[in-house]
Structures are given as structure tokens and as C-alpha cells.
Amino acid sequence: MKTRLSLSQKASLLSLGLFALILLVWYLATLPDARVAAVNVDPEYAALMGGGAASSASSFPTPLAMAQTMWERLSDPFYDNGPNDKGIGIQLAYSLARVLGGFFLAAAVAIPLGFAIGNSRVFYQALNPYVQLLKPISPLAWMPLALYTIKDASASAIFVIFICSLWPMLINTAHGVANVRRDWLDVARTLEVNPLRKAFRVILPAAAPTILTGMRISMGIAWLVIVAAEMLVGGTGIGYFVWNEWNNLSITNVLFAILMIGVVGMALDSIFGVLSKRVAYQE
């Protein structure tokens, strides 16, 4: 029995072990402890809460209760029982639609503008102060202004995503375009390549890895920001769902939502990981 495990096999084993450990700690931490509860709880309060106070330790779900909730929610993700009770799939779809809308709007602005900035020193120096000033502003700070001018909650959320996705893509595109190797541009010049063909056949592929890195960072930020934005604007989306379940004091649902946010974020990032590999080149 001396079979050697490969690196990835060892890693998976360790991952599984960690998962088991987390479950164990979770299980032990949420064990109902009736004796301690009975001693510490004021009887009047206990009467008021109808037994809920005594089992306060268990308002944090046990792993088993969590698994049950997950199963229920995931087996019917698209139900719609009115504004306060929609399936997780519907909520995530709302969030994704806003993120993608804002993200692609930002890409449509940032990539051409980044090209212009990267190609021209004048443009770069003229626009740099604006970029430096606007970049550090928290996207949520734009929310009141967006609500005031756009007068639509959902569109304001898209605007906030747009604003937060803009900067990484703009800066990376400009950087990638400005740092295209001189040799390749010289080749294009000696071959009398027209500007449009040069942009699409030389500069774009040369800068693509940097541009895609910017898009990946933007997408990551957009997915972070949408949760907070939806908590503010309310109505639909995964952020609203988290806040709504918090108001319902359903920690199980909050935990479930947190997990789903992580899964979707990971999926979005891995899409960009695949795209990055596609455009990467080795010098």
C-alpha cells in the first residue's frame, strides 16, 4: 500500500479534511445546550418568546438544518410568491442582469476610451486628473445622485455597477495599449498597415491580456458592489434577499445567500480565467 499520491490528489484530500473539520466545529458549536439556557434565561422573557429564548443557541442553524434549507431552496429556485418571496434563482438572475448590464456598458466606454488614452500622450495627460479623482470614490457614494437624476431604483443600481467597473478596465486598457512593444508597431508601420487594421490586428491582440485582467478585476468589484447596492435600492436581487432575510431573522437563509454569492462570484471569475488563457501569448 505504498501508492504515491499526486499533488492535486493530496490537495483534494486536504480540502475535504478541512471541510469535515469545519462541519465538525459548526456541529459542536450549534449543539443545543438546554441546561445552560434554562439557568440563564429570565423566565418572563422566556414566556414572552414562547420558548424561542431558551433555544437561542439554535437560532444559528445546525449543519443539518442548513443542508435541509439548501436542498429545499435549490430544488425549486424559480418560484415566485409575490415581492417578498421569490426563489433564489430569480433573485440571482436579477443581480446578474444588473451586473452584466452595468459591466458591458462600462466595457463599451472604457475599452475605446482606454485605447485613445493609451495611444495619445495628450489624451493621457488631459484625462489623468479626472481618472485619479474619480477612481477612489466608493461606487455607493454615487447612489443618491443616481437616484435623484435617473429616478429609477434598478437603473441606479446598474449605474453604480457601471461606475465601479469603469476604472479598472479603463486603466488596464490604457496601460496595455501604451505598452505594446515598439517592434510590433514598427513592423506595422513598415508594412503601411492602416490605423484600423493596426488597432484590431496588432494593438488589440498585444494588449488583450492586460485588458482582460482589467475586465476580470472589474467583474469582481461589480459582484461585490451589487450586494450592497441592492440592499440600498431594495425590491429584487440577491442583496435585497440578504437584507430581507436579516429582517426576517432567518440566519439560515442569510447563510445560504452568502454561499450562493460566493458560488456565482467564483463562476464569473473562472469565466474570465478561461478567456484570459485564450488571449494569452508567450513571447
Partner: protein, 309 residues
């Protein structure tokens, strides 16, 4: 001779750069005059900093002269043109394109109206010419340094330029690979009657390939100090060229120049700005008849030396 106007005419070329300390501009070279006839192979050599590459870039249209003019085929050179192919020292292949795509990109730039098949066939002809058949779908990162430079050569020849400019094309290659590619270049140039302007630091390379060798003095105020007519008979063989009676006189002349005479020009002259004309060295003028082959190099000792700055 003077009835035919030269193919390429360079008149009083000078290039100055603003001084980094803000003082007087630094003149790298000035009063550079030369001409190249159609089908000639010209090598330029000189120490680093004499402005060889700058002259090449001006001929390519990638750089602009401070004063002076360049005329090719009766028209002034102003900006890059498909009429002048450039082979870069760093090969400058686009790493995201395959060998075939790199060459096709150039072909498509030259003949925009050609269809896909015609572009491909034309590109493949030149890939075959440099001996890269079978590697056409590889990416540059999968090729050795010598193979990459061959792609660069194929790309430059594929647009059938009126003139080829090469900036130390083989400088980054090992001696063995360099020899093989030199032989191929010699063959291709003989076939295509290509006019070539080439910068090299390698004296033997210059003698093997060129019809004329221009020697540049050291900068600042560098200029073409001497021109050596290299009349060694063609076709030339790398393995036998050193047995030619005029080989060693030329070689000695070049090495002497690089080692000592190149310093006597340039800024050290009494009047650095004064125009001067290059002296011409032609081994055919040598009165001493060469003794029959005496220079058999000892076995095992390499007879290709690099004279680098």
C-alpha cells in the same frame, strides 16, 4: 557609370539629439553621403554609438534626419513604405500569430485585394524558401532563435520590397546557426537580385555577403570614413572564401579600421563639422600579387572571429 542615377541616394545626412543635460545638441553623425545601386549588397560596420542603426531607421522611414535627404528610385523617402522591407534584430514577430499568419499579415498588407488562398500560397512560398516547411503552424515561442529570424527573413522577402534593410539580423544567434542562415541569405539574394543595406558587427559576415563595406568612424560627428570594395567572386562559399587571394587583405583592412583607425575621425578631428569624403579601399589595386593559398588555418581552430564593439 554616372549615366544611370543610383537607386538609393543619401545626401548630407545628419542626426542630432537634444543633450540630456540641456546643453548643446549632440550630433551623432553628419555629412553622411553614399549611394547604392540596384542589386547591390551593402554592409555597414562601426563601433556602437556611431549611428548605424539610426541611419537604417532613417532609410526605413521610422526615424527622421535632422538635416539631409534620402532619395530612393528618384523619390524622397518620407515615412515607412512597403518598398523597403525591414528585418529587425529582435525578429519582431507577433507572438500571438503562427509562422504562416505572421508572413500572411505582411503579404495581406502588401496586396490587400488578394483572396485568402492567394495570400496563403504566396506566404508558403517564402516559408519554404527559408526552409521552414512543416513549422508554419507553430507559434514563435515554439521556435528556436534561428528559426524565428528565418520567419523574419521570410516576412521581409514576402512583400517583395525594392530594398531590404537589416539591422544586425544575426547578432543574437550562435555562430553555427548564423553560418547556416548566412548561406541561405546569400542564396536567396542571388536568386532575387535583392538590393540590401545591412548593419553588422561581424567582419567575416560582411566579407561573405557584401559588394561594398562602409566603415563608420566613432561618434559623435561620426561619418562614413572608408568604403571597401569587396570584389570577391560570386557565388561565394563560406568554406572556401578565405582561400581567395583578396580575402585576408580585406579582412585585415577591416579589422585594422575597427581596432585603430576608427578613433582617428569623429570628434577628435581639428574641425569636427568639416565635410570629408570617404577613402576607397579596393583590394584589386594592391600591387603585391598574392602568394598562392598560404593561409590554411590550423585544424580545430575556428576561423570565424567576432569583432564586437
Amino acid at each position: 557609370m554616372s549615366a544611370i542615377p543610383p537607386f538609393l541616394q543619401v545626401e548630407n545626412l545628419a542626426r542630432a539629439y537634444p543633450s540630456p543635460t540641456g546643453g548643446e545638441a549632440i550630433t551623432v553623425f553628419d555629412h553622411v553621403n553614399f549611394h547604392i545601386h540596384k542589386g547591390e549588397f551593402i554592409c555597414v560596420t562601426g563601433h556602437s554609438g556611431c549611428g548605424k542603426s539610426t541611419i537604417l531607421n532613417i532609410l526605413a522611414g521610422l526615424d527622421a534626419a535632422t538635416t539631409g535627404n534620402v532619395f530612393m528610385d528618384g523619390r524622397e523617402v518620407a515615412g515607412p513604405s512597403l518598398d523597403r522591407g525591414v528585418i529587425f534584430q529582435s525578429h519582431a514577430l507577433m507572438p500571438w500569430l503562427s509562422v504562416l499568419e505572421n508572413v500572411s499579415f505582411a503579404v495581406k498588407s502588401r496586396w490587400a485585394s488578394w483572396n485568402k488562398q492567394k495570400v496563403r500560397d504566396h506566404a508558403m512560398r517564402y516559408i519554404e524558401l527559408v526552409g521552414l516547411m512543416g513549422a508554419e503552424h507553430k507559434k514563435p515561442s515554439q521556435l528556436s532563435g534561428g528559426m524565428k529570424q528565418r520567419v523574419g527573413i521570410a516576412r521581409a522577402f514576402s512583400i517583395e520590397p525594392k530594398m531590404l534593410l537589416m539591422d544586425e539580423p544575426f547578432g543574437a544567434l550562435d555562430a553555427l546557426t548564423r553560418g547556416v542562415i548566412q548561406d541561405e541569405l546569400l542564396k536567396i539574394c542571388a536568386e532575387t537580385q535583392q538590393t540590401v543595406f545591412m548593419i553588422t558587427h561581424d567582419v567575416d559576415e560582411a566579407i561573405l555577403l557584401s559588394d561594398k563595406i562602409m566603415l563608420m568612424s566613432n561618434g559623435p560627428h561620426a561619418r562614413i570614413a572608408e568604403i571597401v570594395n569587396n570584389g570577391l567572386p560570386r557565388p561565394r562559399e563560406r568554406s572556401a572564401i578565405h582561400k581567395q587571394p583578396h580575402y585576408y587583405p580585406i579582412r585585415n583592412h577591416l579589422v585594422d579600421f575597427l581596432v585603430s583607425r576608427s578613433k582617428q575621425f569623429g570628434a577628435l578631428r581639428d574641425a569636427p563639422d568639416a565635410p570629408s569624403s570617404p577613402t576607397v579601399f579596393d583590394p584589386a589595386d594592391l600591387l603585391v600579387p598574392e602568394p598562392p593559398v598560404v593561409h590554411t588555418p590550423p585544424v580545430g581552430k575556428p576561423h570565424i572571429h567576432l569583432v564586437n564593439a
